[in-house]
Symmetry: C2
Subunit: 346 residues, 2 copies
């Protein structure tokens, strides 16, 4: 039990994977023509240091279930590339300005070229995955590819729902709606898929992948709630995105949903007005007002506690999901991601 | 030689493939949740009758080289699905209003949800292709998948170049620049890829695919020039897109490049002003002026003749590319596409 209960510092392992994955992606994407209209853009996000949470989770899970780095590394790279593809398109949809401490592709190059570069990132992600699965047992390779397609579709379903909530100005939402949303939009590709695929490869197809869904969901939910919190309380130089960006976008975060349910009287009217505004109408003053209401109604405290509760469930789900994996540094790393999700600033 | 020289009516065969492919795509894309924010959008373009040029070319080429419909049909479906994915994103980038006689996805649902639905179409295209190639000889399957990735990248490179020309307001372009552009943006996925993949499957990997590039390039160029002409001289009810849309967008068509090179004096100044305008500044009066100059300088006549010359080369390239294929209705169909490209109205 010792490796399962002592919190470890996951950051050195994350940094190591981050460097290796970033280098691999730069080697995989050609720096070809048209450089200034396509390949420079395709290489931009992957060249900016990120957290490498997804590939690190996939690799550690693979090793925990008995596999080698070599069997899994290109799959981890494909996941990170697909993550980058999603980021490019999300930044267009959200009209975001900053990503990983620099301008978004759409802010720098216009949405048309950014859209196209995001499409290319998805092609390269599929390409590296397919080339790698050729060398594996065919049944195992097919399962990996199916998992990848499922991951992409779950993510797009979640993204559609979040965009739909905003476009149609849904104002009656509960924390359960939020959890269902992030299960699709965030958890599937951030945690569930890396866990399932890592266990699949590491065990050569023998591991039961179902407990990974429960663990991954709670781990990913803790990640997403923290991400939403950092958008309000973070340090822009560490967080890499613009602070309060979600408030300008009207993104239905757990804090906003809490506020929607709790605000009364004039406060409730202010929240309704804010929700129904077009993005451009959300001035600094409006955003400050909503941000102030989140303090008054302790929406941030609520979300912080909510994330803590979810992380507690994640630890139980972890024990079940990794019951068959012998104790060791990889198992300790994966478990260590649970407290990391709650405390991270970047 | 008779089937090689008598022009045939390709439209009945196109209509037959169109119906079969449309039905197959509707069966492949689930009508799941979130319906109104994702799957309804994903199903929209494939449900609208199109030309089915790409799948029909792929299927006929496969049969011409000795293969069966069953070996090739899912590949033809994947090509048509990827075509639909491109259309959704192109319509966003071009801010187009109409597609296949109805509003574009972006005009109807906003660019954010349209962007996301286009991503999903690409996932489904890859999915159907992968599932089919599993049942084939592995080496052949790998080659088909590689061809598909190459096709996607060439298309995105061409799209990037066209968008870059417009964003950076390139005003010195030649017909050779235009041909290089459409080689990437249009020909690869419209003609070269269906030809290469059809011949690859039909011959079980034995056909020489290189002559398909020359034939496909000329066939696709004739298609694209005709498409650009229809944007000016077509009947909107048949063409399905808004007439003069390219002029509002500032799209560098062969006619516009011709006009850029030929206009003199005040006319040249008018063209320069037009080229440097933002899209929103291109009023109806400005578009009418440029359209009038295209008549005055006979840019439309130039492009029509240019397409005819290219179609002549296509016929020679066809003879080389299909030299190994025995005469029959499929060979006649492919050859019949050359005059069809020049005369089509839809």
């Amino acid at each position: 039990m010792s490796t399962h209960t002592v919190a470890i510092d996951v950051e050195p392992a994350l940094r190591d994977v981050e460097r290796r994955v970033r280098r691999a992606i730069m080697d995989l994407i050609p720096d070809a023509e048209p450089h200034r209209w396509l390949y420079r853009l395709v290489r931009a996000y992957p060249s900016r240091p990120g957290k490498a949470l997804r590939p690190a989770l996939c690799l550690a899970t693979c090793r925990a279930f008995g596999g080698s780095d070599a069997e899994c590394f290109p799959v981890a790279v494909a996941i990170e590339m697909m993550h980058n593809a999603f980021l490019v398109h999300d930044d267009i949809a959200d009209a975001s300005l900053r990503r990983r401490g620099r301008p978004t592709l759409s802010a720098e190059h216009g949405l048309e070229l950014a859209l196209n570069a995001g499409d290319a990132l998805a092609v390269f992600a599929n390409q590296v995955l397919r080339r790698h699965t050729r060398g594996l047992d065919q049944h195992l390779g097919d399962r990996i590819l199916d998992e990848f397609d499922t991951m992409a579709l779950r993510t797009l379903e979640g993204q559609a729902t979040e965009l739909g909530w905003r476009r149609d100005n849904l104002v009656r939402l509960t924390p359960e709606d939020y959890l269902d949303l992030i299960m699709h939009k965030t958890c599937w590709y951030t945690t569930i898929h890396p866990l399932r695929t890592g266990a699949l490869i590491g065990s050569h197809g023998r591991a039961d992948l179902r407990p990974m869904v429960r663990f991954g969901f709670h781990l990913g939910a803790a990640f997403q709630i923290r991400d939403d919190l950092l958008n309000l309380i973070g340090d822009e130089s560490l967080y890499g995105k613009e602070i309060n960006g979600d408030l300008y976008e009207g993104k239905r975060t757990l804090m906003l949903i809490h506020l929607m349910g709790r605000a009364r009287g004039a406060d409730a009217a202010a929240v309704q007005r804010y929700l129904l505004m077009e993005r451009d109408a959300r001035t600094d003053a409006v955003v400050e007002e909503i941000r102030g209401l989140m303090d008054r109604y302790d929406s941030i405290g609520f979300a912080t506690e909510y994330a803590r509760g979810i992380a507690g469930v994640a630890l139980h789900a972890f024990d079940e999901a990794f019951a068959a994996a012998p104790a060791g540094p990889d198992v300790a790393f994966v478990r260590g991601l649970v407290p990391y999700m709650l405390g991270r600033w970047s």
